[in-house]
């Protein structure tokens, strides 16, 4: 049982947690909701021993505790499944799971037989089919996330905190995760569940705590509470319509056409996007959507077919060519391919415009016009409502939502007319998600041709004029706006 009593925490004079009080009992799932910056991660870091509270008490099974480091929290049975994957890619799955708590023989050598036995048991319980002797790095992010869970379960915790566990998971894997959580609840574990997906809160949680600007705005049962109520506690008022109203902007002319295009795991396929049209690409993780887009922008080599822009065949050999042709690709992973997180906000926003040699930032002789650059960045920050204290801040100090806005700003600044969004709202808070959907429709209104890849079907249904479904490297189905989710799921 975990209890927080009057927890306060501040950083450099900024109060980030105010008077937090709530309790989670064994056999309960408590959802912790709130926008980015509300204090959820900070609170969990206090629970796991990374931060110390300024005042207030934390109790485990009615005994006050104070953790000096994560090892002490671990020892008290607190396990956290983080959103960021922290496995060692070169070690096997089995080695990763037992890392830090190896099984030794009487002679103090590693007991691989016993280790593999125990690890296999955990995966059998989870119902996940994984070869525990394979290198962790050979598995995609979604499977690695499930392995993270196994890692935590291996330490037989009493309390498990899930920090945004479903962001990389497909629908099927999500279902499996919830089965596991149900079982853990039955077994009497105490579960805290952080997620941005409100329907998951409604589905799984017994109790809910909503944080807003560091304070608890709701603490109570989930009986009779639905998504609108949670949202209202998160932002203090009603959000109205979450998805934008779908107005038809689709023009007659085709902006982008792929003919017989493919290679690698993607079979030759045809795809057309008109100016002003938003086309969604649905499908399971691994169905080839990202690979297809990578080939389109020249990040990976394609084997068959051609790309046509406004009816003309073009050769896109690398992302630099794609940029020149006005194609924007907003990467699915901000950290590894979307942004230069250690550089400033301005640096990131201006980068593609500079690479394109746009005269809104680049002067003669390859010199950068600093004044124009600052104006451009300031305009983008204002337009997209990017929240930062200073545009010279490093991008990694901003929340996920703001980081994503920076990534989008970079491409809007480069004056692209074809936008490819790959999982645009992964790990982002509710309000920003909604804003990004608005941005997508705005761009369409201005005549851009847009492709949205997402594993979250409601989001595609809410923002796209047309949804193409990809399965195992093939485009298998096409739906117009107004389709129901189960139809998409069947096609996947």
């Amino acid at each position: 049982m975990i209890e927080f009593r009057n927890i306060h925490k501040s950083f450099f004079g900024n109060m980030v947690l105010k008077d937090i009080c709530f309790k989670v009992n064994p056999g309960e799932i408590l959802a912790l909701a709130g926008q980015n910056g509300a204090g959820k991660s900070t609170l969990m870091k206090i629970l796991s021993g990374i931060y110390y509270p300024e005042s207030g008490q934390m109790l485990v099974d009615d005994v006050p505790v104070s953790f000096h480091d994560t090892i002490e929290a671990d020892a008290k049975g607190i396990g956290i499944v983080y959103q960021e994957l922290s496995g060692v890619p070169h070690l096997s799955v089995s080695d990763n799971v037992v890392l830090g708590k190896d099984i030794k023989t009487k002679m103090h050598f590693l007991d691989f037989k016993k280790q593999n036995q125990e690890v296999q048991e955990i995966f059998d319980q989870l119902g996940v089919d994984v070869d525990i002797n394979r290198k962790l790095g050979s598995y995609p992010a979604s499977t690695q996330q499930l392995i993270e869970i196994a890692k935590v379960l291996y330490k037989t915790p009493k309390v498990v905190v899930f920090d945004e566990p479903t962001t990389s998971l497909t629908t099927r894997e999500r279902k499996k995760l919830f089965e596991v959580m149900d079982k853990m609840r039955e077994d009497g574990l105490t579960i805290i569940f952080i997620t941005h997906y409100l329907e998951e809160i409604v589905k799984m949680a017994d109790k809910c705590v909503v944080l807003k600007d560091g304070s608890v705005t709701y603490y109570g049962s989930m009986e009779g509470k639905g998504e609108p109520e949670i949202i209202s506690y998160m932002i203090g008022q009603n959000i109205g319509n979450y998805y934008p109203k779908l107005v038809e902007y689709t023009a007659k002319d085709v902006a982008l056409e792929l003919k017989n295009f493919g290679g690698g795991i993607v079979s030759p396929c045809d795809l057309k996007v008109h100016h002003g049209e938003v086309v969604g690409l649905a499908g399971l993780i691994g169905s080839g959507r990202t690979e297809l887009m990578h080939m389109l922008i020249g990040a990976e080599k394609h084997k068959y077919g051609d790309v046509y822009l406004n009816g003309k065949k073009v050769r896109i050999a690398n992302p630099s060519s794609a940029l020149e042709q006005g194609i924007a690709y907003i990467n699915e992973d901000r950290r590894t391919g979307g942004l230069n997180l250690t550089m400033s906000v301005d640096f990131n926003i201006a980068l593609s415009s500079i690479a394109k040699g746009k005269d809104n930032v680049v002067g003669t002789g390859g010199f950068i016009n600093t004044k124009k650059e600052q104006e451009l960045c300031a305009k983008m920050i204002e337009q997209l409502e990017i929240k930062c204290a200073s545009s010279q801040q490093r991008a990694l100090t901003l929340s996920g939502g703001n980081q994503q806005k920076i990534a989008i700003a970079k491409w809007i600044a480069s004056e692209a007319n074809i936008y490819i969004f790959d999982e645009p709202t992964k790990g982002i808070d509710v309000l920003t998600k909604s804003r990004i959907y608005d941005i997508i429709r705005e761009l369409a209104k201005q005549g851009a041709a847009i492709i949205v890849i997402s594993s979250y079907n409601p989001e595609l249904i809410g923002t796209c004029d047309r949804i193409e479904v990809m399965s195992k490297g093939n485009l298998v189905a096409s739906f117009k706006a107004g389709v129901e989710e189960h139809e998409i799921l069947l096609a996947q």
């Binding site: 450099f12 900024n14 980030v16 926008q35 980015n36 910056g37 509300a38 600007d213 932002i235 008022q237 959000i239 109205g240 922008i297 990040a299 690398n318 992302p319 630099s320 794609a322 940029l323 020149e324 990467n331 590894t336 391919g337 979307g338 942004l339 230069n340 997180l341 250690t342 550089m343 400033s344 640096f347 201006a350 980068l351 593609s352 500079i354 690479a355 394109k356 040699g357 680049v362 002789g365 390859g366 010199f367 950068i368 600093t370 409502e385 929240k387 930062c388 200073s390 010279q392 801040q393 490093r394 100090t397 901003l398 929340s399 970079k410 480069s414 309000l431 920003t432 909604s434 804003r435």
Partner: protein, 328 residues
Amino acid sequence: MVAQRNTERTSNSTKHHILKSQLATILIILALLIVFFAIGSEGFFTIKNCYNILQQIAVIGIITVAQTFVIITGGIDLSQGAVIGLTTVITAMCMVDFGLSIPIAILLGLLVGVIIGVLNGLLIAYLGLPAFIATLGSMSVTEAIALLVKGGKDIYNLPQGISEFAQQGIGNVIPNIAIIMIIIAFVMHIFLKHTCFGRYIYAVGSNEQSARFSGVKTKSVLFRTYVLAGFLCGIAGIIMMCRMSGGVAIAGKGYQMNSISAVVIGGGSLFGGEGSITGAMVGAFIMTILANGLQIMGVSSYWQQLITGIVLVGAVLMDTMRRKKNLN
């Protein structure tokens, strides 16, 4: 839509702040060193010694500028010392053995630097070799060629004026070769800070994948960085030849250790994405003044090495601690 309130914590310093703090720290260290040596020995704080220091720093200063570019991209250039050596030999050979005019000989000497830079660039940018390995290899090869060309014998009897050029300067205040170094540092500083290419260097160094997706021609940028670095080392080699009045195969051997230290003291990160010419030059001054001061105080060169190592580790430790503090 509802306007979002600003809940961002601004506890983390801006990149601007971080750089400025490191610069302040090392400037203070520099000032302290100067004061220490000025008090500790008679001959240090004189115009003549100042002139000496500027002469001593010329070659290292130029290769430090080159190393700054390379380190910001996340790479490293171990071949710098070897390039200096081979350049002195080839340039001297052209003048003494082939009787070529000074300008032609210099051009050919610079070509040496460019060729090795191209080699490094091909290996690292297009063949994907880690910079450490590639430049370690080119260093060995270059050193060997420098020795093979004249069987390890030094080349002297350079044309009149070369050694004079190396000795002279404006008044008795700034040596010619230091002026060259200062011009190079200044021009490259502007280049790094204000041109597109400079941005690409930081982009590739901070996250090569992201840079690539953003439309930066990352391979080309890396290649050009090493070619530039090689060219600058060529210039350093010519200056070294002037200083030594001859072609010496082993001249400059190991100098890259000094340039790497200087860049790191100046706030550069070996992981890439960070660094500045200003900081690196201050780092170069710290190390040169340290060597000069200790020399004047009569400290043996073995102790000099020890102390230099300690100062390097100390400066980097301070930088690391400051970064950690900023993140918490």
